[in-house]
Structures are given as structure tokens and as C-alpha cells.
């Protein structure tokens, strides 16, 4: 494309000049947008390390100089969030594994094996991705609080377990909720991958007389390892970052079982306003798990997003 040889009729010199100017403009715009996307994160990060006085007096973009620098906010935020980190991971990791496994199974059943009315089933899964969760919130609250109070049922068991406390039982309904509502997106992500696999693999297995379970375990699972990576990264980020279900099912930001996202909007707030040093420190701490995953697996994350939209 860009290396295309100049046409004979063109004046080469003017072409090069034009080309360079355009290139320059392109890079200036790119740098502008890098600034646009990073500025809120940069000001937040700098503010996290500033004393209250520096927060009020200095330019948000500027790094802390000399006595403006402090780690107190970060320490305070870490102390406030340490229990919440455990809660978030304790809830998000099993929930991710659950929805990813179910998603893979469903996608296999929907793509590798042909049967009638698959399309209807597929549409039901697809709609499940887009349903606004507000449409199930009242039933969810009623179900887990009144109809099937699973949390209070498993609490006695949790008390006897090491590491866990009784209040962690309140995260179990949240975990199951995340698994159930995560299935549709995981299914569609896996489906797009399975569709790209050559049909001959499954056909060969069938001719050899392998059962459907055997084909899944011996053929499909081993070759879908990279896709498991993509879906796991995508889904973990979604569940860890999620707020609305946690907000509905965990009673408040001041409870011991609250995950990170639930505590964050309340941290460092007082009657005199918001302490932005603390708030920004807490925000960065809360974002660290997803930031690490994103920086390490940016390509997989982008792939998950791309596949989500058709």
C-alpha cells in the first residue's frame, strides 16, 4: 500500500514532500490522542503520590516534587482494600472458571454437532449477552434473599474452613450469578473459534467411532487452549470490574465481604469533600490486577472485544 512505486507521470520530489507532510500530521495526531487517552490516568497516578496540600496546589499532571511526595495515601488505601482484594479474587476466579467451562461446552454442543433448531438456541444465547441486567435485578435480590438464601445456608460450613470466614458465604450467590450471566458471552466467543476450526477434525473422530465426549476431550479441548486464554482473560476482567451485581447482592460498602469495586466509590469521602489523594491511590490499587492482565495479554483482550461484536 504505502510502498507502492510512484507512477511515472508523477513528480517524485513533490510526492515525497507531500507524503512526509501527511506522515508528520499523522504522527502529531497520534501523539495528541495518546495524551488524550493517558491524561486522566496520569493525573490520577500523580495525585496518588501527593500530599493533600500538593493535591490542592499543584498542577494535576505534574509529578510530586520534594516534600510533595508521600506514600501515606497509598498505605491507607491498601489497608482499606486488602480484605476487599481477597473478596474480589475469591469471587472472580471460580466465577470465571465456571462460566468459561460452561461456555466452551455450550459452544461445542452448538457448533461441532449438527442438529435442527440450533439457530433458535443460538439466538437465545445471543440475546442473553445483551439483556440489560436491570431487567433481572429485582428477581435476583428476591431469589437470593427470600426464596433461596444460599448464603446463610453455607455460612456455617465456611466458618469451619481455614482462611475463609462466615461472611465470605455472602459471595457465593454473587459467584453463581456471575457464572450464569457469563455463559452467553463465553459461548459466543468459543463458538466463533470453533467455527473457524476445520470440520474434518470432528468428522475424522466420528469415523473412528469416537463418542461426542471423547471428541470434546481428546480433540476439541486440546486445540482450543489459545481460545481458553482469550476467554479467560476477557471474562476475568469483566467479573473483577463488575459493579451492579455486587451492589445488588452484597449489602453495602462497609460490609466485610464487599469486593473492591463496591468500596471504591465510598473511599476517602467525608463531609468536607473527597480526599483525592486517597481516592486516586485506591483507584490504582483496585485497577492493578486488570492492568497487569491487560499489559501482559493486550492482544488476547483485544481479540475478545473484537469477537464480542460479531
Amino acid at each position: 500500500m504505502s510502498q507502492s512505486t510512484p507512477d511515472r507521470t508523477f513528480d517524485t520530489a513533490s510526492l515525497v514532500e507531500d507524503f512526509n507532510l501527511r506522515r508528520l500530521g499523522q504522527y502529531v495526531l497520534i501523539i495528541f490522542f495518546i495524551g488524550f487517552f493517558l491524561a486522566p490516568l496520569e493525573t490520577g497516578l500523580m495525585t496518588a503520590f501527593k500530599t493533600n496540600e500538593a493535591v490542592a496546589r499543584s498542577i494535576p499532571l505534574a509529578p510530586p516534587f520534594g516534600d510533595q511526595f508521600t506514600l501515606d495515601n497509598l498505605q491507607f488505601a491498601l489497608q482499606e482494600l486488602s480484605g476487599a482484594f481477597f473478596n474480589s479474587l475469591f469471587m472472580a476466579i471460580p466465577a470465571t472458571i465456571g462460566s468459561v467451562l460452561f461456555g466452551s461446552m455450550a459452544a461445542y454442543g452448538l457448533t461441532m454437532v449438527r442438529w435442527r433448531y440450533q439457530m433458535v438456541m443460538l439466538v437465545l444465547f445471543l440475546v442473553g449477552i445483551f439483556v440489560p441486567y436491570q431487567a433481572v435485578l429485582v428477581p435476583l435480590a428476591r431469589f437470593w434473599n427470600n426464596i433461596f438464601p444460599l448464603a446463610s445456608m453455607v455460612a456455617p460450613i465456611f466458618e469451619t474452613l481455614p482462611v475463609l470466614e462466615g461472611y465470605h458465604a455472602n459471595l457465593v450467590p454473587l459467584m453463581i450469578t456471575h457464572i450464569a450471566y457469563g455463559i452467553p458471552i463465553c459461548t459466543i466467543l468459543f463458538r466463533s473459534y470453533y467455527q473457524s476450526l476445520p470440520n474434518s477434525l470432528v468428522e475424522a473422530g466420528k469415523i473412528d467411532g469416537a463418542s461426542i465426549t471423547k471428541i470434546y476431550r481428546r480433540i476439541v479441548l486440546p486445540i482450543s487452549k489459545p481460545m481458553f486464554g482469550v476467554v479467560f482473560i476477557y471474562q476475568f476482567t469483566q467479573i473483577y470490574n463488575e459493579f451492579l451485581f455486587a451492589f445488588t447482592l452484597v449489602t453495602g460498602a462497609d460490609t466485610l465481604e464487599a469486593p473492591v469495586t463496591l468500596i471504591l466509590p465510598a473511599i476517602g469521602a467525608s463531609t468536607s469533600g473527597i480526599d483525592f489523594g486517597i481516592r486516586m491511590s485506591a483507584s490504582f490499587l483496585a485497577a492493578i490486577p486488570t492492568l497487569i492482565i491487560y499489559i501482559a495479554f493486550a492482544e488476547q483482550f483485544a481479540k475478545g472485544l473484537r469477537t464480542e461484536s460479531g
Partner: protein, 317 residues
């Protein structure tokens, strides 16, 4: 798992006495039945949660449940739906929601397309730049809301420092009801335009390269080539990205809640999602909020259904 050995399946016997047993055995060995544990178990879990939940929500919305009164299913009517429609707060929230949906979707698509075209041609470190543009999407709305709360801060926020260096008065971005919604749309565009860029980049990369060469030979400028030849081919990417953005705009709750940490978002930015959650969990008006949720669901379906039909017609489901 219902995986029997296939070796002894019936071979469709030519004899006249094809009994019920044979038929049953044939049915049990069909792919439908044998693959059923795979799609069936996830479907039952998901179906109970999504469709069971929706049904339950509709049932609650037909009762008068509120506060500590459990829903009474013996007396069902549509009263809540008419009550919701007659409420000014609902109309206001619906208007805000529509404004948010349209401006957010359109600007996100345009900016995403612009960024994709910007990165499409022989840019160095393209992958790294793409990673930076997409970074906000990896963060929770709770986190980005805190960052923007600081950006919008009236005394020391970065935006007001920029505004005042140009000689203008500091703006109360979040506190002024007439611009609060615009400020929030701006922040959401910051978070989502990387996503539309990625969708468009995938679309651009799937196009054959020679179109550019052909247009170049014909003497068409790069701008005209994009406008007349390339962009019309990105229709599918635009449609699917637009659906994701519109559905998001309908259910956006977390960002707005996290700005204030209260049920009531900044004045002038109340949308259906925040109104519904507030009515349910602050005031305990279960049936009333369930009715709002039903309207919200209908609007979302109004976006999704044509999209799925379009996809089905295209054969790309």
C-alpha cells in the same frame, strides 16, 4: 453423559417390523440427544438466570409489591406500567437516556473510525499505540469514574486548569445540570472509542489491499479513497459496534453511580438505569422498578432484534 457406544446402532433395518424400541434407540443415538449435555446444562443455567429472571421480573411488575410487602400474584394488572409512563422523572430519564445514547454512539463510532484510519497505514509501533488507546476499556467504570471525577474537579481538575489558561472561567462540569450529561458523554467516549477503533481496524484489515492501489492508480486521493471505497465496506463493523454501544448506553449505571457514590447521579444525568435501581433499592418500590426495567428491556430488544435479524439474513449468525 449420555454417550453410548455407536458401534451397535441400528442400520435402518429393511424389515417391516421397525419397532418402537428401534426408533427410540435411533433417537437416543442422534446427535441432538447425545450432544444435549453439552449445550443443555449451560443452557438451563443461563436460561433460568436470564429468561427465568425476565419472567419473574414481569410477574413482579404486575403486582403492587413494595417495601416489606411480598408480591401478591393473585391480583395482577398493568397499573405500574401506566404509573411509570405518567411520571415526570421517568420521562426526564428517558429523554436523558436518548440524548446519551445518540451522542455517545455517534461520536464513538466517528472517533473510533478516525483512529482506525489513522493507525491503518504503516504506522510504527502500531500495536503499542493500539494498546494505549484501548487501555481505558480494561478498567472498571468504578475506577474510570474516579479518574474523571478528579479531571472534572472544579478547583484543581485538569480540565479547568486547561480552560483557565485559555482565559475562561472555571466550569462546574459535573455540578451544572445543563452540561453534566455532556461531560459524562465525553468521559464515556474516552473509555469506549478505543473499542470502536479495534472493531474498525479488524474490518479494515479484512479488506483486500489492492483496492488502495487501484484507487491510487486512478489518481484518487487517500481521503476520497476512504470516503468512497473503504468506509462503505465497513458497514458490518459499524452495525455491530453500534449495537454494543447503544445497549451499553441503555444499561450504563456503574459510571454514573460511581461519580457520586449515591443512588442519585449528578443532577441532569438521571437515566433509566439509575432511576430503576434507585426506585428498587433505595425506596423499595419493587413492582414499580420492575416495570421500569421492563421498559428498559423492551428498548434493548428494540436494538438487538433488528440486529440479530440482519445478521441472520446476512447468514453471519
Amino acid at each position: 453423559m449420555a454417550a453410548h457406544d455407536t458401534a451397535e446402532t441400528t442400520q435402518g433395518s429393511t424389515e417391516s417390523d421397525v419397532g418402537m424400541g428401534t426408533k427410540l434407540r435411533y433417537l437416543l443415538n442422534s446427535d441432538f440427544v447425545r450432544s444435549s449435555p453439552y449445550w443443555g446444562i449451560p443452557f438451563v443455567i443461563m436460561g433460568a438466570a436470564v429468561y427465568g429472571g425476565i419472567g419473574f421480573n414481569v410477574a413482579i411488575s404486575l403486582t403492587d409489591a413494595s417495601g416489606l410487602n411480598p408480591p401478591d400474584y393473585s391480583d395482577l394488572d398493568l397499573e405500574m406500567y401506566t404509573q411509570v409512563l405518567g411520571n415526570d422523572a421517568f420521562i426526564q430519564a428517558a429523554q436523558n437516556n436518548l440524548a446519551l445514547l445518540v451522542s455517545f454512539t455517534v461520536i464513538c463510532l466517528l472517533l473510533g473510525l478516525f483512529l482506525a484510519v489513522l493507525l491503518d497505514h504503516g504506522i510504527r509501533y502500531k500495536d503499542k499505540i493500539q494498546t494505549i488507546f484501548l487501555l481505558p476499556m480494561a478498567l472498571s467504570f468504578v475506577v474510570t469514574a474516579q479518574m474523571w471525577l478528579w479531571m472534572f474537579n472544579q478547583q484543581n481538575g485538569l480540565l479547568n486548569i486547561i480552560v483557565t489558561t485559555f482565559g475562561f472561567e472555571p466550569v462546574n462540569w459535573i455540578g451544572d445540570p445543563s452540561i453534566a450529561l455532556g461531560a459524562i458523554v465525553f468521559a464515556l467516549i474516552w473509555q469506549f472509542s478505543g473499542y470502536t477503533m479495534v472493531v474498525y481496524l479488524a474490518g479494515l484489515q479484512s479488506l483486500p489491499d489492492d483496492q488502495f492501489e487501484a484507487a491510487h492508480v486512478d489518481g484518487a486521493s487517500v481521503f476520497r479513497t476512504y470516503l468512497k471505497i473503504i468506509i462503505p465496506q465497513l458497514k458490518e463493523a459499524s452495525v455491530s459496534a453500534a449495537v454494543v454501544l447503544m445497549v451499553f448506553a441503555l444499561k450504563a449505571f456503574t459510571f454514573l453511580y460511581s461519580l457520586t457514590g449515591r443512588y442519585r447521579p449528578p443532577t441532569g444525568t438521571d437515566i433509566l438505569a439509575t432511576l430503576m435501581v434507585r426506585q428498587a433499592f433505595k425506596f423499595g418500590k419493587w413492582a414499580y422498578s420492575a416495570a421500569i426495567a421492563s421498559y428498559l428491556l423492551l428498548m434493548a430488544l428494540g436494538v438487538i432484534a433488528p440486529y440479530l435479524y440482519y445478521q441472520y439474513r446476512q447468514g453471519s449468525l
